[in-house]
Structure formats: C-alpha cells, structure tokens
Symmetry: D2
Subunit: 368 residues, 4 copies
C-alpha cells in the first residue's frame, strides 16, 4: 500500500475530491475475460449511496459509475480499468468559514499541516465520498471472485451503534439486506432507528462496529510474514475514513482468553478439516483456513456535528465550530458496503498472489 | 507490504526459520551517515531475548546480532544493511510427531495447505523467533529517528493479561523498564507474575494487550488514502505473530461514543495547536497531529500448551495434541519490544516519505 | 514498475484505449503547492498531437486534457491527480478484418495470446495513443522540477531516421523547436522531410533514434543497485511503444572503446567537479554526476503499413495484411515529446527519492 | 524496482560490499516444493568466479554460497530464501589513497556526492562483486523455471569485445560453454584471447557486448504498459555494473530499417504461429511471442586501469589516478553469467505474474 493505491496484484488507485468534477478508481491487474458492466457495479454503489433514507446524509448523488477503459464488449481485457463517478450535487455556497477553520476530530488541521494547503470544500480528499470509488472497484473484485470461486459470499453488517448491540442469538444472515442498518436481526432495526433519530435531533452523532464475513473462501490465501491475509485486511479496513480499530475473529477479546479456550480444535470432515470454533476468524499464521473470514472494525462518530466545539482558526485565534451541512449521524451505516468492497479486493488480491506463487486457487497440501 | 517485506522507503525484508542456521533482516533505504553499531541493536534485542526469567520460554538464545553490510566505520552508508542472528539453541530432538500433526490454533495446518510442505522444526517460519529480526531492524530505525527528531520517545507496555488490567490512574511512564512485564505500574507487577505462574503450572497460557506510545512525533506524517499512518501501523502490528486486533487511540470503544464526546477540542498553545484530549490517538485523516501516537494490539494466548487438544494428522486421522517444548505462557510480554520496533520502523518510513514529498520533516502549513 | 504504473514516489498509472471514450493518467505522490493548470499541460500535449502536418498520422485529435482532481485553486494539493483526455475522432467503421487478423510486427497476436481477447479497435491498449497520458503526466513533472531545480532543461530531438543521420557538428540546441522533426539542425530538416514523404508514398515506414538530454540536473540522483537512475531511464524509455533499444551516454558503442578512452577525466571547476568528456552520459554507478544526462532510444518502423505482409487469422488460416487507416510513417517523430515526458518523470521521481533518503535535492558530500 | 530490490512477485534484494564480511541475496516469492541445493547454485557461481584464468581478475574467491533459510529437506518452502557468500580474499592493505581520490569513470565520486560517505574498500557497494548475489538468485530462478517450463534454455555469450566481433555465420550454440569467452565460435577464441592479453599488458581495458538468448519461453509473458517484458529486461540488464546500453531483437539498428523489412511475417506451424524472422527479439507489445527472447547489452571498459588519468581529490586538488589491484581487463566476460541470471529472474517473475493474473503459464488465447 502506498499513498492512494492498495493491493499487490489487483491494484486499486483512487482519486477525486468531494466537490471536484468527479472521482474514481483505476483498477489494474484484473484477470481478463470476466463479464463486467456498469449495472453490476451500480448495484453495489446503490448500497452506499447517500440520501436514501433519513438515517444518512441528505446529499443527493446518483453515484452513477462509468467504465472508461479496460472492458470491451462486456468483458475485462486484462488492462487497466478506469471507473469514474461524476459529482452532481456539490452545492455552490459560501465556504469562507471552513477554509480558515479546523473542525475538531476532522482531517482539516492535519491536511493543512502536511501539505500547506487543502481543498476544504466538503472535506476535499478526506471526505468519505472517496469510498464510492472503493465500492465501484469492489464490484469488479466481486465479479472476478464469483467466477474463480463460485459460491463465495461476502456480507457486512452492523454489530454495534453506540448503546445498541447486536444480539448474536438472533443472528440471521438472510435478514441483513432487509433493513436500513444492515442488521442481521430485522426485529431490532426499529429500535436502532429510534435511537439514531433521537441522537440526530440532539445534534449529535454516534460510532459503530461493522463486521464483514466472507464464506466459501478456500484455505491457503495469505502469506507470511507481511503479506499476511490479516495484515492486508487490517490495513484495508483501517484505511476507511473514521475507522479506529480492526479485529480478526476473537479480536481484542483474545487478550482475556486462556490457551485452552482459544485454540480451535480440529476434526476431519467429509470435505476436509473442520473446526470446533472460529476464534481465529478463519486465519492462522496469516493464511486462510477455509472457515469464515471474520473481520470487524470500529467507526468513530462523525466529527461534523451541529453541537459547538472549541477550536482554532488558521491564524491561531480561538473559535467555536458548528458544522452545518448534510452529514451522516452514523457513518458506520454507509461503511458497511465499503467494508465489503475492501474484503472483496483483499481476497481477490490474495487469490491472485496465491495462484501466481503456487498455480492453485485453493489448498496445495492435501489432508487425509 | 508484500510477502516478507514491509515499508515504503525504509524497507525491511526478514528471513529465517526457528531452527535454521540463522535469521535476519535486510534493511533498505536507510539514510546515510547515521551512527549505528551492533551494541546499539543488541540493547533492543536483549529486551526481547528468551530465557531471561521464568515468565518466558526457557530457550536460551544469546540473539547476538551481526551487521554484515551497509555500515562502514560506524556509520550507515545508505546502501542495504544486512543484520544476521545465528540460531544456537536448536535442540536436536525427535520432531517426528510434529511433522505430521497440526497443533490447534497454530499455523501448522495453513502452511501445509498453502505450500504443500513446511519446515516444522520449532514452527519454522511461523515461529515468533522471526520477531528478533524486526527488533534488530527497529534498532536501526530508532537510531535514525533519534538523529532526525531529537527527543522522540517510543515505549511499549502491557495494559492487559487475561484478567489482569492496568490501572490507568497508577500510570507511570518511568516504571515501564523496571519490571519483567513492561508494566507502567511497578506495584502491580508481583500480582501479574503470580497470576501468570499459576496459569503456567496449570499447563495453560493467556492473551494480552500491548500499548505502544510514541512521544515527540511531528505533525504531518502519513498520507491519504492508503498511505495513512494508521493504515501502516495497523498492518505492522497485525503482522506480528498471534496478534488479532489493533486499535488507534480510542479504538473499538469509539463505537460507543457520541460525536460530542469523541472530537478532541483544539486550543492554541505556545508551540502550536494543543488538544483537550486524544481520542484520535494522535492521527486525524491518516496524518499525525503532533500528539502522542497511541496504538494497542491484542495478542492471543500461545497455542502451544501442555493441555491436550483435539486435532488431526496429515493423513486425516484424529489425534490429541500436547505441545511439549519451551514456550512462553504469555507471548504478549515479549511482543512489547516487537511492537516498539514496528512503531519505530513505520514512523521513520513515514518521516522519509513526508520528507520526499514535501522536503520537510515536520509541519508544512503554519498555524498562528 | 508494475503493469500500468511507473515510478517509486512520483507514480503514474495510465489507462485507456485508442477508441474508448477517454484515456488518461493518475498521478500520485506529487509535491503540494506547485502551480499547475490545464494550459501548462496542453503545451506539451500539443507537441505530440497528431494531424499537425503531413509527416504524421492524419487522425485529428485535439487531445484536450482535463484535470479532474488533485489541483485546487491552481495548485497541487499533494493528493492524487487525475488527468483525462477524451477521444473524439474514433471513426466509426467496419473493424471486421482486424478483429480476426494479426498484423505482423504488431501486438495484436500477443495480446490475444496473453488475454484470450483484445480491444482491436485502433490497437486498443497497445496503441501509441496511450503516450498522450504520459505527456500529460510529464507536464506535471516538469512543473514540479522547474520549482525545485530552477534552470533544469529537458529536450528531445531526432538523431537518426532510416538513412538520415544528425550531423553532430551542426548541433544547435536552439533549433530543436523550430522544425517538424525536432532536429537540432534546421538546415537539414527539408532533406529529412523529402526522405520521409518518399517513403510514405511508397507505402512504407521507417525507424528512428531519439536522444533526450537533461541539463542542470544536480549530482546525487539515483541509487544502487536496482534503483539506479539509468535503470529507471532504461525501463521508462523501453516502455514506450515500438522502442527496441536504449543507450546511456556512449551506449552500445562503449563496447568498442578502451579504458583509456572511455573514462571521463575529472577537473576542479569553479562550482565543483568538471569533466573532460561525457562518455558516461551523466551517470556513474547509477547516480547522476551533475553533467548532462544523455539517453537515446531506437524506435522501430511502424508495423501498420499499406504494403502487404504475410500473416495468419485467429483460426490459423493464412492471409495477407494491408493496414489501411491513418498511421505515422515514422513514429519516432511523435516519440520525442514522449521521451521528454519520461525523462521528466524519472528525474522528479529520483529527486524525491533522494530528498526522502537524504533530505537534500543536491549533492550531500562536498568536494573542495 | 526500488533501491536494492528487483522483481514483482519473484523478488530479489541484494546486500553486501566488496570487502565486507559477506554479501548475498534475499529471494522472496519463490514457489514452494522446488528442489534446490547449494551445489546447484554453485554451478552457476563458478561460471562467474574470479581468478579462473588470465583473462579475468586474479582475486581468488571461492564464492561458496550458503542457503540460510527458505529451503527445507532440499525443497523450497515458499518463504524467503537467504543466500550468503562470505568474502575471503579481501587483502588487508593500505587504502589511504583511494579513500580521498575519485577514479575517473568510477562510482567513487557519485557515491560520495549522494551519501556524503562511502565504503571505498574495493569499490564497496559499487563493486561488481555484488553480481555474485544475482547469479546465486538466478540459480534459484533457473531451478523453478526448469520445473515449470521443461526445456527452457538460457544462454549468454559475447558478440563483441573492442575490435573483435562475432561472426554470425559461425554461430554455434553448443560451443558457448567450451571457451573462456563464452564465444559461440570456438575457433575464434584464441584470437580474442591474444587481443585481450595485449590490451592488458598495455595497462588498458576494453568494452564488450553480451547477448543473452532464452529458448522455449511460452507466448504470453509480459504486460502492458510498464510491466512489459522488455521494460523489465532493459531495467535488469542496465542495472548490471558498467552496462551502458540494452537492445531487444534488432535493437538500435531498427532505426535504419523500413517497415517492410522489420515486420516479422507470421505463418501457421504445426504447434502454433511461426515467424519468418525475429527482428522483434521475441517480444511484441511487451509480451513474449514464443520465439527466442534476444537481449544484448554493452559493457563499458573497466575504469580501474594502470594507465594514469587526471582526476581530483576530495579536497578538490588535482591528482593523477593509477588504479593498481586485481581488475578484469574486460568485465564483459564475467557479465555473461550475470546477464543469464537476470534473464532467468525476469522470465520467472513474469511467468508468475502471468499465472497470477490468468491462471496459465502459457498462451490463454488459442490460434487455429
């Protein structure tokens, strides 16, 4: 990963600012001959699109993606794919305040310190609008994965939002797409919505934890010591705006376990090894086990809120910041499809790496 | 990051297995003219060295590092530095069992699945002995950092070990080096030791959380969107053996906060911006703020324990695994200097990246 | 360099096909605060633009570049810059033949063999239209270089075209921009034109050698052993369409020299070391000496010609290929601004690398 | 390629100085399960070893390679391989002069300018001794290639040395290994030797051109636009010490050809496409055609000669340099196995890249 690119063989470079003419992603290293069209990508972008309901920002962007290169007659050609999304709802207004003021908890101040200047309109490059590019690129990754590993499934869902927590006993994989919170528990969604709307009316915002699970991933993906699957997943998720923590499997809670609890015991199943549990989150020694890959990440509460916070101006003068504008009360919700996209990109990248090094897209060493 | 290399400009490639003749690191991109000698590196290696007390593995390795290239008359030359540590205490014994059996919670099975073969002696490449190479490379990074950013300080310490948790009220930065647990609370160390010894006698192991803090880091390090400072720190820490979670600042707990709580308010201090709090862990938008950089990571309990666990053999037959040998009851302890080394490498790498792009080793944009 | 990206710190990724909707370049790692606008880039693109005179293809493309990101209020922001050039003169015609036939000397057959499919329209990704993206990116590099190293000059010119060869005795740096062949000898240009027009009328094409010289480059750029300045220049030039050879300084002719002839003797000048000659082409041990950087590359004759050549179809049947369409009789002419762009990108990249590693944009070690 | 590493998936990082304790290479990304041992590597190192006859330096180094990691029970494990060669014949002598003086045509001055200090003993990092590491790494690459592409052959040979030129009419592939000059014309070798010995006695040195040919390489290796096979070959060869030019196929001479001459016509053979000629050197559009891959590179005459040349000292004072010591009168001879090693590494790297992206180690698109 370096600057605006991630991935080893399946490489994604994103570009664009919140209020520039467009943003997008250059996808390099894609396998050839895979059916891809704009509608397939739009499906995933629509999951992340703003303005769909009252739980997200009211900015109204169609987020229509155009494929400018690398696809010919409906199939990837193996050369670099350019995905572009035009910005259409950049409101022309007075940005005077924000140009000279640093919002607490926001990248305003560090961009200024690093570069000496910044595109302050709508957060510029630091805006979460950049994640639309990732979702588009993730759509390409999904299409390739589907062809190489039929049956692979990637789903993200919320497991916490402030005081609200998912009841694991009620977990329902099929419920996830049926509510505005990507909750695997339809019955709980109204309560989450009431909680969030109350916060929003109080001019506040709230953090969240998103879990992304991949089913059907073959054993053998990843590589010691720095090309580990969990290393790249951690980097991928931490690179999403506002993320402050990443967990694989048991995650931080592993610190409270004994060795006798934590080790997932192994049994021989009909189709290969099976495990009594999945504390490891499907990854041992940086390499996939064939179990579910389980990643969680914490998203901090939106820093752009209507409640006044103390800050300073560029000239050093004290000020108070109240961020008007159209902001998500919980950016964690729209981070769900972004987390899925990152999972898809990382898995495909490691599938290609593994195939490059070993010639296989699954386990090389046989068991039983 | 790719396979066995990490870093963009300050690049570290490690090599070697637990029971091979030697292991080490190739360090590329180091600035020239920095005073470095073996004694300086040995200082840090001795912190990680096994067999020092009864809280760690009894394997007795001097871990003596040799500098084979890239240093001339006591100074770095700017060319690639080779650091080698010979293995001296590989016990010659019967490895027969381990060659055909997979320890639950261990990389045995995934290495076999990925590669079709593995060096099973002492865990081979998946052994935590690899981290000695990182500590040696980290020693180089520290020497350069000290010269470029006088006063920078990097310290790691334990904040949790199973049921034991650090009392933040008793936090004492100067106490860290004075006890076997790198605890910032000397008074608590005996209790932690008693807890661990009891576990060890019960043939068990336990997880831990390590926190690494860097003081004196200038604002402006890191880069959107995938070259973020927190992205690389997350990858660096997750790449350490047995790590299952990484947090920056507030970490996973950010999910339970409101926007009004989480945003660190900004004031103008004598030497620049100051903050009312540090929920951000010193990083906003992927770029350092000048505050303390705060990273935590969770280490799972050692999977190699004397308590029997169900598993399978390479031929698929069920078996029970009891791992004899000399293992750490809590690998988190020896992960402390490793986390420090990774922090040093990542900070130096980003300092060089920032200097390359902007010509500065600190903030470019002035405030006040 | 990997797939569609080149550069270490100043990284350029290009995308787009000859007859797709657009093509362009994503430029990452650019220093912030540098004045850049579309007109500056257009200046260089106009040098490469087709259809300007009868010595080049008659395809009429304005090659108007748009800056979609990374520049704010006329200055680079340090984030990724997207440069897009829309294709406007893709003639709608019957591509039936070319889809199933392989032109001798062209990438048709290898793209098919590598990927199993290809965008055959106008050569698709293998078309030299891709080089427009490089020239646009080179314009960014030039703007940054001008700011960091005032007085640096980069000029490309032709030194051979078939039987025509530059008379070095007549060399005139200031004449280069005054004729259609970028010849440093204005008087010779009419003869070159007559030669080329005769070839064109005979349905033929011809090869060329382009030399690119950079003046005012500081000593110290480049790095052993694979990050050498000449290594990257060789790769950069060889990556240009149709290039078959690259030389630094004396080049291939060095094979015929004795050690006594080849070594450039060193004298102490007023401003540092001076040399009696420049067989080295300004690079010793992969690092710039402060002399002129001299690179030459050979461009093969266009394979798309009106003279029939034997070939096969995708089904293996023998055929004869006559390539109609609008092709350059000597692609070397339009390769001149491309070579300049690559030189600018490589020099800037190494300037940033050197600054990152040493903190200097010139020599670190003093002499005298 | 960056600093001391080359390759994308099969990555080689070299380290070590001429008079340090050892030098070597870290080889990462090697496929697992390939039989490799020290004797196999030694075979290639012995081709490059100094002191074998009077046509090369009389430094006497066994160049014995040790495998320190990544190979277990005679097979590669897929993890990083460390290859180390100890220096044994570093003569202890007075280096006083060379420390403060710059040899004309040598990297002495640029290393000093870049880094401010240098290991001057025997040329330090800039010594051609570094190429021993490449030959060792190339031995690994050859072993893997042999397994993946049975029948592949890589041979280097000299085609020019000063006034001596290979008579192509006498070309004999099988003669190459039978004389001290790797000449494909045994009858000519005595004349070459007489020529070189005369030069040596006159305290002079001479340049050379080496050609490296790979037979049996499948079509489809390489990738547009910067991951081209010829791009990487050019970089690989130009990175070898003293190389000043690189040619693919027709090379620089392509500039003098017409399109009707240069295009290799295509016919359908029994096993796929065949070509009437190989002006392209086996590469079209950056991708292999299945023909012989043909690369040539020019090596300048050794700058370290006994004839006095004008130069300066570090303090700027004029001086005259006569380089005593044990130097090759024509470094081109020992560059032959180095060029072969680079060819092997680049081909394997692209084979793995192609397999990663497409799943194939040969052509994907069928013909006929």
């Amino acid at each position: 990963m370096s600057l605006n690119t991630f991935g080893h063989l399946f490489r994604v470079t994103t570009w664009g600012e919140s209020h520039g003419p467009a943003l997008g992603a250059t996808v390099d290293g894609c396998p050839p001959g895979v059916a891809v069209d704009e509608a397939m990508l739009q499906h995933w972008l629509d999951k992340r699109r703003p303005g769909q309901n009252k739980n997200m920002t009211q900015r109204n962007e169609p987020d229509a993606v155009q494929i400018l290169s690398g696809v010919f007659e409906g199939k990837t050609t193996g050369t670099s794919i350019q995905l572009m999304i035009e910005n259409t709802d950049q409101r022309s207004r007075d940005y005077g305040d924000i140009a000279n003021t640093f919002r607490p908890g926001h990248a305003d101040i560090t961009y200024h310190q690093k570069y000496g200047l910044r595109d302050y309109r709508g957060g510029g490059r630091s805006s979460a609008r950049e994640t639309a590019s990732r979702v588009a690129a993730g759509g390409i990754a999904r299409a390739v994965l589907d062809q190489l590993v039929p049956g692979v499934q990637i789903k993200g869902f919320m497991v916490r939002m402030g005081a609200m927590a998912l009841d694991r006993a009620a977990f329902d994989w099929d419920a996830i797409d049926g509510n505005d919170f990507w909750l695997p528990d339809s019955a709980a969604a109204p309560e989450w919505e009431a909680y969030l709307q109350k916060l929003r009316k109080n001019h506040n915002s709230v953090g969240a934890i998103v879990e992304v699970v991949a089913r059907g991933v073959p054993a053998g993906l990843g590589a010691p010591i720095y090309g580990k699957l969990d290393t790249d997943l951690a980097a991928a998720m931490m690179s999403i705006n506002a993320v402050k923590g990443v967990e694989i499997g048991e995650g931080m809670a592993a610190a409270e376990l004994m060795g006798t609890d934590n080790a997932d015991e192994i049994y021989m199943g009909e189709n290969g090894p099976e495990y009594s549990s999945n504390h490891a989150g499907g990854i041992l020694g940086g390499i996939s086990t064939g179990q579910e890959i389980v990643v969680r990440f914490a998203v901090k509460p939106t820093s752009s809120i209507l409640s006044p916070r103390a800050s300073i101006r560029m000239d050093g003068a004290a000020t108070e910041v109240v961020t008007k504008g159209r902001h998500d009360p919980c950016v964690g919700i729209r981070a769900v499809p972004v987390g899925e996209a990152m999972m898809a990109c990382v898995l495909l990248d490691h599938l290609l790496l593994h195939r490059g090094q070993t010639g296989s897209i699954g386990p090389v060493g046989k068991i039983g």
